[in-house]
């Protein structure tokens, strides 16, 4: 047995989240990911995946980055560096967005939370892009000396945990006096959970209902323990990065580095709903307007494999009639569907639900058909 690809480099200093020792005690397999030692799985990816779909799962997201953008011109500044319309956010509102490159590619995909009071915004960024994002935001701020805005990397003092799954809300409700049913999807509130004052955001990356908690990093262990205890009768289990990936894939949520990169535009990636070209000027707007007018050359499509041959994996070639038409961005055996599914970025002329693709697995074409996305939608 030997790994065919080596996705991680352990050469650099690897950091630990405050929950590291708990993961080890729970029997997690720890791997270096984006500069952090993170649990990839505890009992098994399939098992953890199903736990989140049917009950609830707890995620250590201590590797994620957070940036506070404050000042009277925070809105104007964020509008200029993101794709979605920040002006749509009411206090306590949250939205998915992207930091575009001047060429229309993507520096990172992010979540923006408007502060409950004042002019500021809280931005959650990907672990793997933290330094790049912060440097980019600082550089753009420096370019706009006309704006009164402050960009502050608060990742080191911010703890982050998520609880996701059909039982998630009930579990959290046991630990707080605040009525959680009043907080809608993509909104956040300030609440005291297990005696800890936190930001509770009804957001997530699994396709299930649930919360993401942001709070003081020194209280993360207490929060984790209180949630694990409150959820034990409901089958709450810790979930590793492996199941986080299959969960988000079934829900067709993009992963930066797979579906998104500086070489892929949000329109090609099928994220046009988070690109508001009419919101006013922003970095990368012109190439995106141009691409929208001309039509995208490539499209993100979902597929399932029709024959046995292994799973589709990121960067595998995609062919039609022996001609290379694109590449796989993500793929896995879907634990919910029991089938091999994937996302690919292909030439626009071969894209379409029902149309065939060949996925080249270890040099051999495996037949696939394009299917509707998301692959999984939670029952309402």
């Amino acid at each position: 047995m030997g790994e065919q690809s080596q996705p991680e480099s352990a050469a650099e200093t690897v950091r630990k989240t405050p929950l590291h020792d708990r993961h080890v005690a729970l029997g997690a397999r720890m791997i270096p990911f984006a500069g952090w030692m993170m649990p990839v799985q505890y009992t098994g990816i399939k098992d953890e995946h199903q736990q989140v779909r049917t009950a609830a799962g707890l995620f250590d997201l201590g590797h994620m980055g957070q940036v506070d953008v404050t000042g009277p011109d925070a809105l104007t500044f964020l509008q200029s560096i993101t794709t979605n319309n920040v002006a749509d956010l009411e206090p306590g509102g949250a939205q998915y967005s992207m930091l575009p490159t001047p060429e229309g590619g993507v520096i990172d995909d992010i979540f923006i939370y408007r502060h409950l009071e004042g002019d500021g915004y809280f931005v959650c960024i990907n672990a793997s892009n933290r330094e790049k994002d912060v440097a980019w935001m600082q550089e753009q701020r420096a370019n706009r000396s006309d704006l009164d805005v402050t960009v502050k990397d608060i990742s080191d003092e911010t703890g982050m945990i998520a609880i996701q799954g059909p039982k998630a809300i009930d579990i959290v409700q046991r630990l707080t006096d605040t009525d959680l049913s009043q907080t809608g999807r993509n909104h956040w509130i300030k609440a005291t959970v297990a005696g800890i004052e936190l930001m509770l955001a009804r957001t997530g990356y699994t396709g299930e209902d649930g919360f993401e908690f942001y709070g003081p990093i020194e209280r993360v262990e207490d929060l984790w323990d209180a949630l694990m205890d409150a959820g034990k009768d409901d089958g709450l289990k810790p979930i590793g990065l492996g199941a986080r990936d299959t969960l988000r894939l079934e829900a067709r949520m993009p992963l930066y580095g797979n579906e998104l990169s500086s070489e892929i535009t949000p329109l090609e990636a099928g994220l046009g709903w988070a690109v508001k070209l009419d919101k006013g000027p922003f970095i990368g707007r012109e190439p995106l307007v141009w691409q929208k007018e001309k039509g995208v050359p490539r499209k993100a499509v979902g597929f399932r494999l029709l024959e046995r041959g292994g799973s589709a994996r990121s960067h595998y070639d995609v062919e039609v009639d022996g001609r290379k038409v694109g590449f796989v961005t993500s793929g896995a055996m879907s634990p919910t569907l029991g089938e091999n599914i994937g996302l690919a970025l292909v030439d626009a002329d071969v894209a379409g639900v029902g149309k065939p693709l060949d996925i080249i697995v270890r040099g051999k074409p495996v037949r696939a058909v394009q299917i509707k996305m998301p692959f999984y939608k939670r029952p309402m």
């Binding site: 047995m1 030997g2 790994e3 065919q4 690809s5 397999r29 990839v40 799985q41 098994g44 990816i45 399939k46 098992d47 492996g242 299959t246 046995r308 041959g309 292994g310 799973s311 994996r313 896995a332 055996m333 634990p335 091999n340 270890r362």
Partner: protein
């Protein structure tokens, strides 16, 4: 789980049972545990040749695809189609039901390159950290 006493082992976490001129290959318990939920097995055809320390098959888990290396040279005489049809058998019964292939041994002397169970247990424990 300690490695069964009657088998020999490779550094790439395959086991081999030698029975006369026939050898049976499989993946160790450590291997299946490291791989996690196994979703796919690709094995050579009967009659094909395998070479010591060269890949002869592929095992896929939810996480990744990995090569399986041959512990010895030889010609494939049988493959375990039950395991191909139900790859999670490798997780459930790595040393028994989920044997992978049987080969006719080409060079019995190559067995001296393999690890005994105690050496393998120690090796697997070290590679887990």
């Amino acid at each position: 789980m300690t490695a069964p006493r009657d088998l020999k082992y490779t550094k790439s976490h395959e086991w081999v049972r030698i029975d006369g001129d026939i050898a049976t290959f499989g993946l160790t318990d450590h291997a299946q545990s490291e791989l996690g939920d196994i979703t796919y097995l690709e094995l050579p055809e009967v009659g094909g040749a395998v070479t010591q320390a060269e890949p002869f098959g592929v095992v896929e888990s939810v996480k990744a695809a990995s090569d399986i290396y041959a512990p010895l040279d030889g010609e494939v005489v049988e493959i375990n189609s039950t395991a191909v049809d139900a790859p999670d058998l490798v997780n459930k019964s790595p040393y028994d039901d989920a044997w992978l292939v049987k080969i006719r041994i080409a060079d019995p002397a190559q067995a001296s390159n393999l690890m005994d169970p105690d050496t393998y247990d120690q090796f697997a424990e070290e590679s887990a950290h």
